[in-house]
């Protein structure tokens, strides 16, 4: 049987587009402002930027508005949009170790240089619905005013030296510098396995939070070898510079803004080096925005992929090809598209098989 092209449904599709638009608005007292999503759905915006691989808070908020909060669709919109833009610059190397930190904790060491700074976190809140949030009119200004008054401007500002440097200085870290000069770019080059470390990190960095969390969880529960402690988790702002094309001096660069990032370094089981010394292995996670679970999951998966074994999270192809939001949701969603020929072919085959079976049974009888 050959393929038969069909057409139709154009009006139905146009009406469906209008209908979904009406469902987005029909119970709304007013259309939600993009700015409101950007400022009050902070963590969701961060997640969409991370999974879309594009740092653009306003556009991520717009995508969320357009998709009625569907994170996969919103990330898809960002990816699609970025593909229409020219990439004229590569940044200088951004070092999250030098970030302007607003949160930094370690679950490995109690006393760390700069201290444990909890920052903005829901980690220590009661998981109880706050019904007061149903009506905050007037309370917002009052809260922000009171909060500002509480600030003591004489107070020190935190500085966050890397916690893992404590271990590095004592020679307790096994991970060694590898010579991979120019990073691999998964958006420009075809990925082949085994993938270079830079490609793995790039894929993980724009991976889907839920998929990565599930895989990392599986590793910790026993379907894998990695169950770390968090050497350091930090959230803050990192400056981005690009080379200045009209520079007199070679080193000159220009500042274009800053990124909010979450960086995680995990401490994993130790290994014995060639000299017989025992050393820790570290894992690394870095995401756009504040997305701590994803950054931890990334560190677990990144470390897991550096180990040998039979578990799913040690299978590079399995992990890296299934954590991408756009690819995974796209492939699953495509099942909704017409598969009439495919299914008709299956029907034909099952009918043919039944017919042959009856003939065979008849001839035996």
């Amino acid at each position: 049987m050959g393929y038969v092209a069909v057409t139709g449904g154009r009006t139905a599709i146009e009406n469906a587009n209008k209908l979904v638009h009406s469902y987005r608005l029909k119970d709304a007292e007013r259309a939600i402002e993009v700015k409101e999503i950007e400022s009050q759905m902070r963590l969701l915006v961060d997640r969409v930027m991370g999974e879309g691989g594009l740092y653009a808070p306003e556009y991520a908020a717009l995508a969320l508005k357009q998709t009625e909060g569907d994170v996969h669709e919103a990330a898809f919109l960002l990816r699609a949009y970025r593909s229409t833009l020219p990439r004229n610059h590569y940044s200088m190397i951004t070092d999250p170790g030098e970030m302007r930190g607003i949160r930094r904790i370690s679950s490995s060491f109690k006393d760390i240089p700069g201290g444990q700074v909890l920052g903005p976190t829901y980690d220590y809140t009661h998981r109880l619905l706050n019904f007061d949030l149903r009506n905050e009119s007037g309370a917002v200004e009052q809260f922000l005013e009171d909060f500002a008054l509480e600030l003591d401007t004489e107070m020190d500002t935190p500085s966050f030296p890397k916690v893992m440097d404590l271990l590095r200085e004592q020679g307790l870290v096994a991970n060694r510098k590898i010579d991979e000069v120019e990073p691999f770019d998964i958006t420009r080059e075809k990925l082949a396995f085994p993938a270079p470390r830079s490609a793995r990190l790039q894929l993980l960095s724009r991976g889907e939070t839920g998929a990565m969390t599930a895989l990392a969880y599986s590793s910790m529960r026993g379907y894998g070898a990695v169950h770390p402690t968090i050497g350091e988790l930090r959230v803050g702002y990192s400056e981005v510079h690009i080379p200045y094309p009209f520079a007199d001096e070679e080193e000159d660069s220009i500042y274009i803004g800053e990124l909010k990032l979450t960086e995680v370094e995990t401490v994993n089981s130790f290994t014995q080096n060639n000299q017989g010394d025992v050393e820790f292995m570290l894992g690394y996670g870095l995401t756009f925005g504040q997305n701590e679970v994803k950054a931890i999951a990334m560190a677990i998966l990144e470390r897991s992929l550096e180990t040998q074994g039979q578990s799913p999270t040690q299978d590079e192809e399995f992990v890296l090809l299934h954590i991408d939001s756009v690819e995974a949701q796209g492939f699953v969603s495509h099942l909704k598209l017409p598969h009439y020929i495919t299914f008709q072919s299956m029907l034909d085959r099952i009918r043919q098989a039944q017919k042959e079976s009856k003939v065979e049974t008849g001839s035996k009888g």
Binding site: D95, F147, I254
Partner: protein, 145 residues
């Protein structure tokens, strides 16, 4: 003033200051737009602190613009959709590259704005520092019951 420092002040500083500087330039010399403000991408290269090597973590949306004054170029690149500011940064940048006399007068304002930026950022850090944990050592507990 180094470009990195100048552009940080222009990007993070009060937009009103940037506007006033650009207007001064436009009122004095002829500014030619070489490349209209347009959105684009910057691929962010981040340092992986384990291997100490960079990797591409994702792209940032930017608006970029190029102008010239008497054939001398100036460039403005800023994160987000910021056509006006990208143009204004390019104008100020070109003014510095042309060494227009007015830039000497700008320095005090730029330095003051740099302090304002630091103060603003410090406020956020101070509010974060209020969440620093002060551990108290608990008394020894030896339950023999």
């Amino acid at each position: 003033m180094k470009k990195a420092r100048l552009t940080k002040i222009l990007v993070e500083g009060n937009p009103a200051l940037l506007t006033s500087l650009a207007i001064q330039v436009e009122a004095t010399v002829s500014v030619q737009v070489e490349k209209q403000p347009a959105p684009g991408l910057v691929m962010v290269k981040a340092k992986d602190s384990i291997s100490m090597n960079p990797f591409y973590m994702g792209e940032a949306l930017v608006t970029e613009c190029t102008v010239s004054i008497d054939g001398v170029f100036g460039m403005g690149v800023i994160m987000g959709e910021e056509a006006e500011r990208a143009y204004q940064i390019a104008v100020v940048d070109a003014a510095f590259n042309c060494k227009l006399p007015m830039i000497e007068d700008w320095i005090p304002d730029l330095l003051q704005e740099e302090i304002n930026i630091q103060n603003r950022q410090q406020e956020e850090l101070i509010s974060a520092n209020r969440t620093k944990v002060h551990f108290d050592t608990m008394e020894d507990y030896n339950d023999k019951s």
